[in-house]
């Protein structure tokens, strides 16, 4: 991808200093300003939160295996699904890709030594950790029963659980993500290496730029809204309370003004990961680079104008509902562009089914199902039937788990050698990817049917329709498989760190990009040994050359350059 001006003689990789072994004290980790170390700190944090959120989900799934509920009371069940939603959304999905992989990769991909504001970056981790502790305290000391949406007036006047404490925690976590967003924007605008023009940026960087714009524009709105709920609980100020002259629907407006774009905060970075993985393991240039880049920006812009599709049955006016329905259909277009372009990238590529690629392919399939079922929900008529049912639950899990989490795992596998300098076990990697894919569909596909039949979300009993038990049990069994699938990477990835015989080369996948071609694995503290200069376009893969390399080694004749299509067609 780029020429290297000078390279110091590389010493033996075994003893080479890198960001991991530069310093070993605990303080050197807790006070680090190195974006790579902060990414590792975030990785530990979000992993813990992910398993805590999964624990709550396990209770929910177990409870639903019987039409009369298994073990939980009404209140405890409400607290369980709230805990699951709050933890997974605010402390896993939102920080997962940007704060872990984004933190690690953005400076490396654009050829910078660090993010623009390294201390702000560290502060964001501390704010995030403190907010996570506050929220977990609230969830343990009494819990919250409002659901992760905190609708008023339930959250403001009626709920007597730990709503205030949890909302203060979420308010703080918002600042953590704003800090990350500000950092990324300044970094991407101002810290690019010489020659790294906007249209030479990896698509991963584009998607993070769009995400950061959403973060700085949306997060403050939800922060102040949640804070007003806290004030309302404390002083009864009445902004969202109908008894006091306020309007509870206004809360929903302000909440979804952020929370719809927030799904793009979760899924846009994931799409960035997919663009990197697909191109690398198809050995092809991305199809329609500019369309993919611009679709990220279009999603960021249009995504702000569709929030009302969460409110068709909330007494928002019919006119506003119509406008939002139209715009919600419109926002599907840029996502579809991405899917088509990824598919066309693979076409005639030499596709290689390694672990990250399996995750990426799973992402595309599940994201398409999640996206298309979203169209049912964008149409007002069908949405009135499906609102508040398991159809919604299935839809957003297809987008969030099938989309964001699979891409996060794919990204972790793809950049694992770069982050830690160790190769993981490929067999276990592929197996876990397939187990997760299977378990995921097993869990959530029955929920589409349940929702269509009318099973309401947030109910833990369905004695009025015991015939639904079949689907619930199927879903719960699937979630067990899914849980096993999620546990597997935790083991074999950790194991890969402990082994000694699996040192990763600088570029194990033969991937393009500054982080692969110009940096060692793991990178040195300031990322590059010499300032990278960018001359080539991104994803400058050469499938013919790759194939010929294999053929040369096997003693086969090479494919002639002039007519690359010949081999495929005859």
């Amino acid at each position: 991808m780029s020429a290297i001006l000078e390279r110091t003689a590389a010493p033996d990789p075994q003893v080479k200093k890198n960001y991991l072994n530069a310093d070993h004290t605990l303080a050197s980790w807790l006070l680090t300003t190195d974006h790579k170390r902060i990414a590792v700190l975030y990785l530990i944090g979000v992993t813990v939160m992910f398993f805590l959120g999964s624990l709550a989900a396990a209770f929910v799934r177990f409870e639903l295996t019987s039409p009369r509920g298994q073990i939980l009371t009404h209140e405890t069940y409400n607290k369980m699904f709230t805990a699951h939603g709050v933890i997974m959304i605010f402390f896993f999905l939102i920080p997962a890709v940007p704060a872990v992989l984004g933190n690690f990769l953005i400076p490396m991909m654009i050829g910078a030594r660090d993010l623009a504001f390294p201390r702000l970056n560290l502060a964001s981790w501390y704010v995030w950790t403190i907010s996570a502790v506050i929220v977990l305290t609230g969830l343990i000391m009494g819990g919250v029963d409002t659901g992760w949406t905190f609708y008023t007036p339930l959250s403001s006047l009626y709920s007597n659980t730990q709503v205030s404490l949890v909302l203060v925690g979420l308010f703080l976590s918002g600042f953590s993500s704003i800090m990350t967003g500000v950092n990324f924007i300044a970094t991407i605008h101002k810290m690019r290496a010489p020659g790294m023009t906007w249209f030479k940026l990896p698509l991963y960087v584009w998607s993070h730029y769009a995400t950061s714009v959403i973060i700085i524009l949306g997060t403050p709105v939800v922060a102040i809204t949640l804070f007003l709920v806290v004030l309302e609980r404390t002083f009864r100020i009445g902004i969202f309370s109908p008894e006091l002259g306020g309007d509870p629907v206004l809360f929903q407006h302000l909440f979804w003004f952020y929370s719809h774009p927030a799904v793009y905060i979760m899924v846009l970075p994931a799409m960035g990961v997919i663009s990197e993985v697909i191109t690398c393991f198809s050995r092809r240039q991305i199809f329609g680079y500019r369309f993919v880049a611009m679709s990220s920006m279009a999603i960021a812009a249009i995504g702000f104008l569709v929030w009302g599709h969460h409110m068709y049955v909330s007494s928002q006016s019919v006119l506003q509902g119509l406008i939002f329905s139209l715009l919600s259909f419109l926002v599907a277009v840029p996502s579809a562009i991405k899917v088509f372009n990824w598919s066309l990238t693979m076409w005639r590529g030499s596709v290689q089914f390694s672990t990250p690629m399996i995750y990426a392919l799973a992402f595309i399939g599940l994201f398409v199902i999640g996206g298309l079922t979203g169209l049912y929900l964008a149409a007002i008529d069908t949405d009135v039937h499906l609102t508040g049912t398991y159809f919604i639950v299935a839809h957003f899990h297809y987008v969030m788990v099938g989309g964001a989490i699979l891409a996060f795992l794919g990204g972790i596998h793809f950049w694992w050698p770069k982050m830690f300098g160790k190769m993981y076990n490929e067999f276990w990697g592929r197996l876990s990817a397939m187990v997760i894919f299977l378990g995921f569909n097993f869990t959530f596909f029955p929920q589409f049917i349940l929702g269509y039949l009318g099973m309401p979300r947030r109910y833990h009993v369905y004695y009025f329709a015991p015939e639904w038990q079949f689907y619930h049990v199927a879903s719960s069994l699937g979630s067990t498989i899914l849980g096993i699938g999620f546990l597997m990477p935790a083991f074999y990835l950790t194991a890969s760190l402990l082994r000694k015989d699996n040192v990763a080369p600088a570029n194990p996948w033969g991937a393009k990009g500054l982080e692969w071609e110009n940096a060692s694995s793991p990178p040195v503290t300031l990322n590059f040994e010499s300032q990278p200069i960018v001359t080539e376009n991104p994803y400058n893969y050469d499938p013919i050359e790759d194939t010929n390399k294999v053929r040369r080694e096997a003693g086969l004749p090479e494919i002639p350059r002039e007519d690359p299509d010949k081999e495929v067609h005859h």
């Binding site: 704003i178 605008h189 902004i239 002259g245 302000l254």
Partner: protein, 224 residues
């Protein structure tokens, strides 16, 4: 890379290791500050939106309630904030010209204005508390005497306290930041060889002023 040729000039501002040169560093900081200010715009923006919706619904009532607020005190506070905004702009001007004494004076004046603003605000708040206008359980609105719906009155004062309160919090943070900046300047901290820290504090402070420019007519000068 890595070795940044440190010029012999002792006045040359320090460049952090992630930047190539001072220009890149300055531009990055200013862009970062502006993207933070965009966040602040949306932060207050949500409150302004809520205000607009209720003001639009209850214009007549809001006219009645706003008479509780003293527009002379509010006007004095506007003047104080505008003056402080001017002086902080002066501080940036002197920081660029590296005139340390004048810079400190200008910042000191800004700090003085900020305290003045908070004192006047405290007097106003005190009066509201005395008259039971703080929207908690003690809130009272004598509709028979003044007219207007007591619930809308609660809404109006809720908005008044949350918006001016949040603004006041920003003033307080501003005082801390300006105070710290003055401390750094007085100590001749190497960071201060660059004018950008002063510029960033100035941008923040102007934003605080900007919010007040809208709050003043919206709360103190509601027309009939």
């Amino acid at each position: 890379m890595a070795t940044h040729a440190h010029t012999a000039d002792p006045d040359a501002p320090a460049v952090y290791e992630q930047f190539e040169d001072i220009d890149q560093q300055q531009e990055t900081y200013i862009l970062g500050m502006w993207s933070f200010l965009v966040t602040e715009i949306m932060f207050f923006g949500a409150l302004f939106l809520i205000y607009s919706i209720y003001r639009w619904q209850y214009q007549g009532d809001f006219y009645i309630f706003h008479k509780e607020l003293d527009y002379v005190l509010g006007g004095i506070n506007t003047t104080v904030l505008l003056a402080s905004s001017f002086s902080v702009a002066l501080a940036v001007h002197y920081a660029q010209l590296k005139k340390k004494r004048q810079q400190l004076l200008a910042l000191g004046f800004t700090l003085l204005c900020a305290f003045g603003f908070l004192i006047i605000k405290a007097i106003e708040y005190g009066k509201k508390f005395e008259h039971s206008k703080f929207p908690n359980d003690t809130f009272v609105w004598d509709a028979a005497k003044y007219g207007g719906d007591p619930e809308h009155a609660r809404l109006f004062f809720s908005l008044y306290f949350s918006m001016t309160g949040l603004h006041g919090l920003h003033v307080l943070i501003g005082i801390l930041v300006i105070g710290y900046l003055m401390y750094l300047i007085a100590k001749d901290h190497p960071v201060i060889t660059d004018y950008v820290p002063t510029e960033l504090v100035g941008l923040y402070w102007h934003f605080v002023d900007l919010v007040w420019i809208f709050l003043y007519p919206l709360f103190y000068l509601i027309p009939k």
